[in-house]
Symmetry: C2
Subunit: 403 residues, 2 copies
C-alpha cells in the first residue's frame, strides 16, 4: 500500500472483476474503499476458485484492503443505506464505483439528489444497458476467431478476462480524473464504462478496426506468430517451448547473433533481395525464416540457450506453467510486491500490494480482504453518523449484519 490517495473515501457496490479491481487499485494507493454487499454476499461471493471451507480465493483476491458493510439490498431501508453510503459526505467523499444498472435505486439521478457533486463511475456490459460480460463482448469483437492454431476453425476464448481488467483500471483513472475536475470547480458527474465501448475503442486504437475497414476482412488466424514483426514460439532440443520476439532492428540482430544464424539469414536476404532490418519484411517472409530458427533452436537445450539469450540482450521468454512461475524469483518468489498474509479464508499465502512501484516511497503492508460485514458498525457510525441505538435497531430488524 502507498499513500498517494490518502484521505479519499470511495464506496464500491460491485461484483465480478472490473469494478472490484477499480476499487482494489484505489485502495492499494491509499484510498479508504468501502464495499457494500448483500447480507450473505453478492453474486460473486462464492466464485471459484474456492477453498475447501467454501471461501472464494477470487473474492478475497479482488477485495484486499477494503472495508465491508453487509446490508439487505432487497429491502427499502437497506437500499437507502447503500444510497447514503454511495453519496457519502466530505470533500474527498462522494466517490462511487459500481456495476449496478443505470436505472434503479443506484441511478445517478437518485444519488445526485443526495449529493449534488457526486462522482459515479459505472461499469456496464453493453452501452445500451443490455447484458454483456467479458466473454460475450469478446466473442462479438472477432478476437476468438483470430486466436489459436492455424487450421483449427473453432473460436478460442481468452482465459484472462482482458476487457474486465482494462475496464477496471480505466475506471480508476476516470474516478481520480473526475475528482481533479471537481476540485477545480467542474462539479460531479457520472462516467459510464461499458465493456462494449472499451472493446470497440481498443480494437480501433490498436489498428485492428482500420485494417479491417481497409481490407474488408479481419486479420486471419496466425497461431502464435506476432503480427507484422518476427515472433513465435520455438522448440528447443530438450522439447521446451520458448517465445522469441524481434520487433526492433536491435532485437532482430541480437537474436540472430545469439542463435548464430546471421550468415544463413544474410544468404536468404540475398536470395530474396530484401533486408530483414524491416520488421514487415520479416513478417512477410516468415515462412522462409522459420526453418532457420527452428533448426537453431533444435540444436541446443533451453539451459544452453537461456544464458546466451540473456547475455545477448535477446527478447525472449520461456513458456512455463503457473506453478513454475510461483517459484520464479522475479515473478512471485522474491518479488517485493508480495507478502504472505492471512486471508478471510483462514489461509496464509502471499498476496500483492499496489501493482506499481514507487522507489522513493516505502511500501506499506499488504492488507487482506475484509470478512463480509466486518466494518458494518464502524462505517454506519463514522460515515453515516448513526448512533449505537439506531445501529442496534438495524441489526435487530435484519437490515444490516456484522461479521
Amino acid at each position: 500500500m502507498y499513500e498517494l490517495l490518502k484521505g479519499l473515501r470511495v464506496v464500491e457496490g460491485s461484483a465480478f472483476v472490473a469494478a472490484p479491481t477499480c476499487g482494489l487499485y484505489l485502495a492499494q494507493m491509499g484510498a479508504e474503499v468501502i464495499r457494500f454487499d448483500n447480507i450473505g454476499g453478492g453474486p460473486d461471493f462464492r466464485r471459484w476458485p474456492l477453498h475447501e471451507n467454501g471461501a472464494s480465493l477470487y473474492w478475497e483476491g479482488l477485495n484486499k484492503g477494503k472495508k465491508s458493510v453487509a446490508v439487505d439490498l432487497g429491502r427499502p431501508e437497506g437500499r437507502e443505506i447503500a444510497q447514503r453510503l454511495a453519496a457519502a459526505p466530505g470533500e474527498d467523499g462522494g466517490l462511487f464505483v459500481t456495476n449496478f444498472p443505470v436505472e434503479g435505486f443506484l441511478s445517478y439521478e437518485k444519488l445526485q439528489a443526495l449529493r449534488h457533486d457526486l462522482i459515479c463511475v459505472r461499469v456496464m456490459g453493453w452501452a445500451d444497458g443490455s447484458q454483456g460480460m467479458d466473454y460475450t463482448i469478446n466473442a462479438a469483437l472477432g478476437l476468438p476467431q483470430m486466436t489459436g492454431p492455424v487450421g483449427d476453425e473453432r473460436p478460442v476464448n481468452h482465459v484472462l478476462a482482458a476487457w474486465d481488467l482494462l475496464t477496471g483500471a480505466y475506471c480508476a483513472f476516470a474516478l481520480v480524473s473526475a475528482l481533479l475536475a471537481r476540485m477545480r470547480g467542474q462539479g460531479g458527474r457520472e462516467i459510464r464504462a461499458p465493456l462494449s465501448d472499451i472493446g470497440a475503442a481498443t480494437m480501433a486504437n490498436l489498428g485492428f478496426a482500420a485494417e479491417t475497414w481497409l481490407n474488408g476482412q479481419q486479420r486471419p488466424r496466425m497461431g502464435n506468430d506476432v503480427f507484422g514483426a518476427f515472433g513465435r514460439d520455438f522448440t528447443t532440443k530438450d522439447g521446451e517451448k520458448l517465445m522469441l520476439l524481434a520487433i526492433t532492428p536491435k532485437q532482430w540482430s541480437k537474436a540472430l547473433e545469439a542463435l548464430g544464424i546471421g550468415s544463413e539469414v544474410a544468404g536468404l536476404e540475398a536470395e530474396i533481395g530484401v533486408s530483414f532490418a524491416d520488421e514487415g519484411l520479416r513478417f512477410t517472409h516468415r515462412d522462409r525464416l522459420y526453418p532457420l530458427f527452428e533448426r537453431a533452436f533444435a540444436r541446443k537445450t533451453a539451459a544452453e540457450l537461456a544464458p546466451a539469450f540473456d547475455a545477448g540482450g535477446v527478447t525472449w521468454g520461456a513458456y512455463q506453467p503457473l506453478e513454475a512461475a510461483l517459484e520464479d524469483r522475479r515473478l512471485f518468489k522474491d518479488n517485493p510486491l508480495f507478502e504472505a498474509i492471512q486471508h478471510p479464508s483462514g489461509l496464509t499465502y502471499p498476496a500483492p500490494g499496489a501493482m506499481g512501484t514507487i522507489p522513493q516511497d516505502r511500501r506499506g503492508p499488504v492488507r487482506p480482504a475484509p470478512r463480509l460485514g466486518e466494518h458494518t458498525d464502524e462505517v454506519l457510525a463514522e460515515v453515516l453518523g448513526l448512533g449505537s441505538g439506531e445501529i442496534a435497531r438495524l441489526h435487530d430488524a435484519g437490515v444490516v449484519a456484522q461479521a
Copy 2:
C-alpha cells in the same frame, strides 16, 4: 474528447502499446499530451498494419489527439531537449510518461535535477530492467498453456496484448493519482509499472495464484468453458457459434427458460441429487449438462434464438468476425464514441474518442494523431520558451524537425 483534465500538460516519450495508450487516455480526457520522437519516427512508427502508402494505422490509432515533436535523440543536444520537455514547467506540467529505460538520459534522477517535483510514470518489461514484452511475460505466467482446445498441448498466445493494455490504463491512473498527491504537498515521484509485476499481481488478484499454491498445479486447459460457472460456445442449427454464460442464479434460470430445457435439467438435478442454482455444481457437472444444451441449440437457428434470448434477458453473444462487428450498430456503426476523421495516413475512417461516456457532458470532437513533428516549433516556443532564432538554429543543425 472531454475536459476533465483540461490544463494538464503531459509529455510522452514512448513506443509500442502500454505507454502510448496511457497518453491517449489522458489526451482524450482533455490533457495536452506532447509526444517526442526521434526524427523519422521511433521503433513503432512503422508498425503493422500499414496503409499502402507506408503509414502505420497502429501508430495513428494510438496517438490520437497528441502533439508531436521530432528531435534527434542520438545527439546530446536532442537529448537535452527531450529532458527539458519531460521536466516541463508549470503547476500542471512536469508529468512524464515513458517506456525509456530506468537508467540513461531519461532516468528519474537526471530529470529530477531539472524539476524537483517531477512525476514520472515508467512502463517496464521486467521489474529488474531486463527485456520483456507482453508476449514473453504472458508466456511466463502460464496462460498460453491454459488457453485453447482441450487435447491440444501447444501453448496458445493471446492476440490482444492484454498486459500492455492493462498497464497503460493503470499508468494513467497512477499519473493522475500522483498529481493529486503533489497538489496536496507530497512532492513528485517516479512510479514504475513493469509488465512482469502487473502480470504477477493480476494472476494473484484473480485467484489463479492462490489456487495453484493450494493445488500444486495450475488450472488445466478447458477450451472455452468458463471456469467455475456455466459458460461455453454452442452451435446453432445453422452452424453459428453463440457464447452462453450463466454465472448468477438469475442468468441460469433465464437461459433454461429461453432454451425450454427447464424440465430436462430438473430431471438431471433429481438424478444426480444436486441443485444447479449453485454455479460451482453447474461447473462440476458440466459434462452432463452440455448435451442438453447442445441439443437445444441444434434445434433452432441463430435468427430464432437471438430474439428469444434477448427477450428473456439471457447473457449471450454471437461470435462474429470483426468485419461484422464494424457493421454492428452497437459496437461501431452507430456508436457515438466514433467519428469519421481524416488521419495522418491521408485516410478518412471512424475513430473513437474517450472510452468512457459522461452523459452530462458534451463529447468534443475526436482528434486525429499528429503528423510526426507537426508541433515541434510550437512546443519549443511555448513549452521551452525558445526564440525563433534558436529554433531556426536547431533546425539548421538537424537537431529537430518539423512536419
